[in-house]
Amino acid sequence: MLLRFDSVVAGYGRGDILRGLDLDVPEQAVTCLVGPNGAGKSTALKTLSGLLKPRAGRILFEGDDIAGLSPARVLARGIVHVPQERSLFPLMTVWDNVLMGGHSMRDRGAVRRRAEALAERFPIVRERRNDRAGELSGGQQKVVEIARALMLRPKLILFDEPTMGLEPKTRHLIFETVARLHADGHTVLLVEQNARAGLAAADHGAVLDGGRVAIAGRGADLLADPRLGELYLGGSGPTANGSGGMNSPA
């Protein structure tokens, strides 16, 4: 097991969002976290990447407890976090944004070589290299964020709702990119509001509710589990579509 949340408690102010989260993330697989708003999906990623200090519990990565480490030290362990909101530096060029992904590397030549390799893999980086990142569409920005996240050859990539606010065609592109990362052997922990699309793209899934895992299993099995619909829509069934997050995939 690459990553394990062990009874993790975390939150903001006086309230706890994660209330004893236990979760396993296997290596070289896509694991998707779904759940209603406020279930703790994004909080789990923030706690893992060091943006939020856990109040209790352990986060074991490759067997070591990394709970409470700073974001820089978590990054140095090989975990990269692509946050929910747009995270590019809008006034920097696309190229400078990608270079920032290698900020913690000392060998500047290696940073440039890695960026060039990623520009070949993600054509938008090459095509819009000298444009300001803020001028790109939402989907293009997300692809550049993914390219930037790969600069350090991470062992684990955290995606927090990567398709939020994107049009269907672009959502499809993002899920294709996640599938490519999976095929390349990356380990991905994906948070997705669009439960159907997220679980369909994942090997494993977990449904969070009230800061704990309510159901976990293979992605395909969860999609067929009637409890998934109950958690989202109070019993509308696993195939329900609509505002509760069980939207159809792009």
Partner: protein, 291 residues
């Protein structure tokens, strides 16, 4: 017309000095949302240090920058680490005002105790020299001062635009949490940026002491001008601060010769208000942080 061109030359040379002071102020605001109202006091402190080096050790005020700037840089880093770093981000703007105002009053108090309120000026041998270029008088001291300010601003630009540290500063300004997630040591960036921001006050202070007489209370007038320059340029924009400072220098100088020196300072504030009515975010300011 000759007089207006002469005034413009004077205005650009004066504006360059203010540009240097204001660029540090806006850099600090851009990186950490701290309104450093001690910037004026740090200029005056630097003017005193430069004056003391000149008076007691005959160090040329322009060379004294090499000694004064590192001292003020160290002071700035210390202040940031001890007083400002611990501020919660949602309170940083308000509380940093109080902290830096206290710092300004502290500097004024110490300078008042040591030097009293007597006006001082760094009177170099070339203080009253001037070149005549195409029939226009250019003060040697002001030309040197302008040259120093341009050199420091170019260095600041190269630091921000061409170095790894500069990229991390810009990243922190544009998206702090994203910079953090990419391994940028935000505490280090903020401390160094604060040090660099106040170091511009050191360079400008040495120049200020050559151009104007000063006493410990001179920072009140300075900070009001610097804040208005930063607002007009666009909060957080170094390029905006430079443009606004040059505009201030030219407007004041032209009004002084064409209308009356009495109205020169007021005229700049009239222009300031008029521009802000049309463009509330200032010249280069966006509704988000820029640099």
């Amino acid at each position: 017309m000759h007089l207006v061109v002469q005034a413009c030359i004077l205005g650009v040379l004066t504006g360059g000095v203010y540009a240097l002071m204001a660029s540090g102020l806006t850099l600090v605001f851009g990186v950490m949302r701290v309104i450093n109202v001690a910037q004026g006091a740090l200029v005056i402190l630097s003017a005193y240090l430069s004056w003391a080096l000149f008076t007691h050790f005959q160090v040329d005020p322009f060379l004294s920058v090499l000694i004064v700037a590192p001292l003020i840089f160290a002071l700035g880093v210390g202040v940031q680490l001890v007083f400002i770093r611990s501020l919660r981000s949602e309170q940083a703007e308000e509380l940093s005002l109080l902290i830096t105002w206290a710092l300004a009053l502290g500097i004024e108090g110490v300078l008042g105790a040591v030097y009293e309120t007597t006006y001082r000026a760094t009177n170099t041998s070339y203080a009253n020299s001037a070149w005549t270029i195409f029939g226009y008088q250019v003060s040697v001291v002001r030309a040197y001062a302008f040259g120093l300010c341009v050199a420091v601003l170019v260095l600041l630009y190269l630091l921000l635009a061409r170095t790894r540290f500069g990229r991390s500063v810009r990243a922190t300004v544009q998206n702090p949490s994203s910079a953090l997630l990419l391994g940028v040591n935000a505490d280090r960036v903020r401390a160094l940026a604060f040090g660099i921001g106040v170091s511009t006050a050191a360079a400008a202070g040495a120049v200020y002491g050559v151009l104007y007489p000063f006493n410990p209370g001179s920072h009140y007038d300075l900070i009001s001008r610097l804040l208005s320059i930063v607002v007009l340029g666009g909060l957080g924009s170094v390029a905006g601060a430079v443009a606004a400072a040059l505009m201030m220098g030219v407007v004041e100088a032209v009004v002084a010769v064409e209308i009356s020196p009495v109205w020169s300072s007021f005229s700049y504030f009239v222009v300031l208000v008029a521009i802000l009515l049309l463009r509330p975010q200032g010249f280069f300011g966006a509704r988000e942080r820029t640099l």
